[in-house]
């Protein structure tokens, strides 16, 4: 026996054992992979992403204590963010309804006005519209009062000097209303023409036809994208802070800027704001999904519905439902 032979090396038997283990593990992975439900895998991906994020968080050495200390103050802006978004979406819905009726109207005045409205408010940036409403309306009011003091009294001119939050809400409503006009128009036009003709045949007036036949069916198409617009608007409320909302009723972004700049912790403040907006949209996306499935209830086949509900029960509580 030479020295080389004596060295304990991997014999043929050991190799076989190792490759046997590898094959066994491989087979286990393949088997588990087949057995593991899709949603569990998705959850694992999310866990991996969050682990990576946590790593970056740790590497970047953010001031976690500062974020904890200031979270409550920034989070108090949630209610004002919601006020602005709710005010904006309500205004947008009204404008979109009127705009859509104008777009399908045969009246040249209604058609012309709604065409201009959609073109202008979709064709200019939201932030520009906010500044225009905040800065230009008071000028218009004051000049109108100077030119026609009797027709346009001082009190009316003063009304046009809008609060930053009100100007921002108006701009959001006008801008989103223009986009949603097209959604509403498409919704109304998606109702089968025969429905309207049937209403006409029954002798309904235009208003009756719209209110009782066309609009209720159009809303099924309109509601889901409107929910989406609302979620988008939640985030655009941050733009209002560029007008300088009063500190007492500042929304999330303004609050994060106020404390972040004052303490030189801008990044940390932005992270808190990002977390809050994200949380808010997760909550509203959940409701949006519920609403969407509810309005389409009548159009889902019974067998599909049963399958969907049993699927939901089987995976209920599983991860990955975020987003």
């Amino acid at each position: 026996m030479t020295e080389t032979d004596a060295r304990p090396g991997p014999s043929a038997g050991a190799w076989a054992r190792v490759s046997g283990w590898v094959r066994a593990v491989g087979a286990w992975v393949v088997r588990t992979n087949r057995r593991t439900p899709f949603r569990v895998k998705v959850a694992l991906v999310w866990v991996a992403i969050f682990a990576l994020l946590a790593f970056f968080f740790w590497i970047a050495q953010f001031d976690n204590q500062w974020m904890l200390d200031n979270f409550t103050y920034i989070a108090k802006g949630l209610q004002y963010t919601l006020y602005i978004a709710l005010g904006g979406i309500l205004l947008a819905i009204v404008l979109a309804m009127l705009g859509a009726l104008g777009r399908i109207s045969s009246n040249p005045i209604a058609y012309g006005i709604s065409g201009f409205y959609v073109s202008f408010f979709r064709g200019t940036p939201l932030i520009v519209q906010m500044f225009l409403i905040y800065l230009a309306l008071p000028q218009v009011g004051i000049n109108l009062h100077d030119q026609f003091p009797d027709l346009f009294p001082q009190t009316l001119a003063n009304q046009l000097v809008l609060d930053a939050a009100v100007a921002g809400t108006l701009a959001l409503g006008l801008n989103y209303g223009a986009y949603m006009t097209e959604i509403f128009r498409a919704g109304i036009q998606s109702v089968a023409a025969g429905q309207g003709e049937a209403a006409d045949a029954l002798g309904m007036t235009y208003r009756q036809k719209m209110r009782r036949v066309v609009l209720p069916q159009a809303f099924r198409v309109i509601i889901p994208p409107t929910g989406n617009e609302f979620i988008a608007m939640l985030k655009d409320t941050a733009l209002v802070s560029f007008l300088g909302v009063a500190v007492a009723n500042a929304e999330i972004f303004r609050r994060s800027q106020l404390v972040g700049k004052a303490d030189f912790q801008n990044l940390e403040a932005l992270l808190v704001a990002a977390a809050l907006y994200w949380g808010l949209t997760i909550v509203f996306t959940f409701f949006q999904r519920r609403l969407e499935s509810r309005v389409s209830r009548g159009y889902v086949r019974t067998s599909d519905r049963l399958a969907a509900s049993s699927e939901a029960q089987a995976h209920g509580g599983g991860g990955g439902g975020v987003g």
Binding site: L91, F242, V247, A248, D263, F264
Partner: protein, 305 residues
């Protein structure tokens, strides 16, 4: 269309409620709720029909401030009140007028742009009365003077002589503020002369000084070679533990004044005169020295260096 009319009513109610809660809570700050003090300018003035008369009648001086600038103006998020040197100066001016003070917090650009439309009466916001601004705003005499300094990253060793070592460097400043004008050699204030010692700079403009400072803190030359800002802001950033340092002596001293809107609907001449006189009195009786030493670590910035 009953549906849209109900919705319209809903919008109206909502917008009104936002508007009303705006006016309810506007009076945050030092002495917003206190009764107007007696014996001020308002008791003796014979102004009528102008801005001063209206302020006296309302009993409130509405002051604009940007509460993102410690130690001049900063929001105490615990109490919800504003604090700082500018806040104390504005409160004292209102006291001496014989009215209480209320705050508005618009963005800085909107304050310097003029055309306030009566949203607020005066700005006590450490504003430099540049000749450009004087076209849209009226200014009182300066109530204090801020030294402008050059800040570099603490690893930097190449900048020692400001008049030569910064020529052609990447310097960050707040956009459309006096430091940018200084670097562009366009700073122009009546009654003041400036020595433009830094040449060939194309300054990078930021929304505020603190954003520029944060970019500088990333590393020496990573994005910026230097930042020009006020001594007070720079010191606050250094005290926060950030890796930057001040080099050399202050480059220039800028005067800072109370501003009023030239285009205001009501004549502001008597108010300007009254506030200018109050600022003079606050210089003479040591009030400004006391407030400056209180907010700027014992430094008296109320006198020109």
């Amino acid at each position: 269309m009953w549906k849209s009319s109900t919705a319209l009513a809903g919008v109206a109610v909502l917008v009104l409620s936002i508007a009303s809660c705006g006016s309810d809570e506007r009076d945050v700050g030092a002495s917003g709720d206190e009764p107007a003090p007696e014996g001020g300018v308002c008791d003796t003035t014979d102004a009528s029909g102008d801005l001063l008369a209206e302020i006296c009648e309302k009993g409130t001086l509405t002051v604009s401030t940007d509460p993102a600038y410690p130690p001049q103006s900063v929001l105490n998020e615990q109490t919800g009140e504003l604090e700082g040197f500018d806040i104390d100066v504005a409160t004292e001016i209102a006291n001496r007028l014989g009215v209480s003070v209320a705050w508005q917090e618009p963005s800085w650009d909107l304050i310097t742009a003029g055309s306030w439309n009566g949203r607020w009466d005066v700005s006590v916001g450490s504003m430099t009365p540049t000749n450009d601004r004087q076209e849209v705003l009226d200014f009182t005499q300066p109530y204090y003077y801020t030294p402008a300094v050059v800040v570099v990253h603490e690893d930097n060793t190449s900048v020692t002589d400001l008049s030569t070592d910064l020529d052609g460097a990447d310097i960050g400043v707040c956009s459309s503020c006096t430091y940018e004008q200084y670097l562009n050699k366009s700073l122009d204030i009546e009654g003041f002369t400036f020595d433009f010692i830094i040449d060939d700079v194309d300054p990078t403009g930021y929304d505020t000084d603190t954003t520029a400072l944060q970019d500088l803190a990333l590393g020496d030359g990573t994005r910026l070679d230097a930042v020009m800002t006020s001594l007070t802001t720079a010191q606050g950033f250094i005290d926060n533990g950030q890796p930057v340092k001040i080099v050399g002596d202050p480059v220039f001293y800028e005067p800072l004044s109370v501003a009023m809107d030239k285009s205001s609907e009501l004549d502001n001449a008597t108010l300007l005169e009254a506030v200018d006189q109050i600022v003079g009195e606050m210089h003479d009786d040591g009030t400004l020295t006391k407030l400056s030493e209180q907010w700027y670590d014992g430094t008296d910035l109320s006198v020109q260096q």
